[in-house]
């Protein structure tokens, strides 16, 4: 019994302790975009409208809001989601999933 009941230092310890580890946020790909999420300060409130004019005017901003539903649809092709109403809410995504299930 060479290994049972004995402790061994982790295999990745040396890499992590020297700051050479790769966490998801450390991955940098060409053309990579960052997303920031603006949350409603009111629990269970309905998002009636989101004014993105100011965000769009910021240099480097590629896609305020509009790209998000498309990205979710792209990430979940197996759910066969139809185009969803925006602003996207958990309710709407859930409804779209139910519709997709009912029609498939």
């Amino acid at each position: 019994m060479k290994y049972v009941g004995r402790g061994f230092p982790g295999m990745t310890n040396r890499v992590l302790v020297s700051g050479q580890g790769t966490f998801t946020a450390d991955i940098h790909l060409p053309g990579i975009c960052a997303v920031t999420i603006l949350r409603s300060p009111y629990a269970h409130a309905r998002v009636v409208a989101v004014d993105t004019k100011k965000a769009e005017a910021e240099p480097g901003v590629t896609a305020p809001l509009g790209a998000i539903p498309a990205a979710i649809e792209d990430a979940l092709p197996h759910l066969k989601l139809a185009l969803m109403e925006t602003p996207l809410t958990p309710d709407r995504v859930w409804r779209a999933m139910r519709v997709a299930q009912a029609t498939s």
Binding site: T12, N13, S18, Q20
Partner: protein, 167 residues
């Protein structure tokens, strides 16, 4: 608005242009691609972004990159030449399993460096106080304290000279 920033990081000179709103942690990670400095909370609570600014630990999420202009910074990458040639503090963390996921580790190691530079032979209470600005969600701190005790022993009171320490 962009401003020019000249800094020395790990003894190397860098010259970049940054947005006035950019924090030091983002400058190190995104502009200089030194991703060993992590961002946990962005509010100065967790210590994952700890770096040395003119030889003293600071939380780089709470400092504007523009304010670092003309200053000297040391990050975890400056402490060793790679994963094989480690600083005694890093060796102690490896040997004593003072880490699990490794996210808080660069900050822990730099806070330990500061602690041992100030107090080469700390008690357990002093160790716990020394890392009180660094949060770890994996280890429960037990093995981190053990690692720091081992590091203090292996450094035998020698002040580290590899990182600028101007107090």
């Amino acid at each position: 608005m962009k401003v020019p920033v000249k800094v020395i990081v790990n003894k190397k000179a860098y010259s970049v242009e940054v947005d006035t709103r950019m924090i030091l942690a983002d400058m190190l990670r995104d502009e200089l691609r030194l991703t060993g400095t992590h961002i946990g909370c962005g509010t100065g609570s967790c210590g994952a972004c700890t770096v040395m600014l003119n030889g003293r630990t600071v939380k780089s999420c709470c400092i504007l990159a523009a304010d670092a202009d003309g200053q000297e910074i040391a990050t975890i990458e400056g402490l060793s030449t790679g994963a094989q040639q480690l600083h005694p503090i890093q060796e102690a963390f490896v040997e004593n399993q003072g880490l699990q996921c490794g996210y808080c580790t660069p900050g822990m190691v730099l806070s330990t460096l500061q602690l041992l530079n100030d107090n080469p032979d700390p008690s357990e209470d002093e160790i716990r106080h020394g890392i009180s600005g660094n949060l770890c969600r994996c280890t429960g701190y037990q093995f981190i304290v053990k690692s720091i005790q081992a590091a203090a022993k292996s450094m035998q009171g020698k002040t580290d000279t590899r990182v600028a320490n101007r107090g």
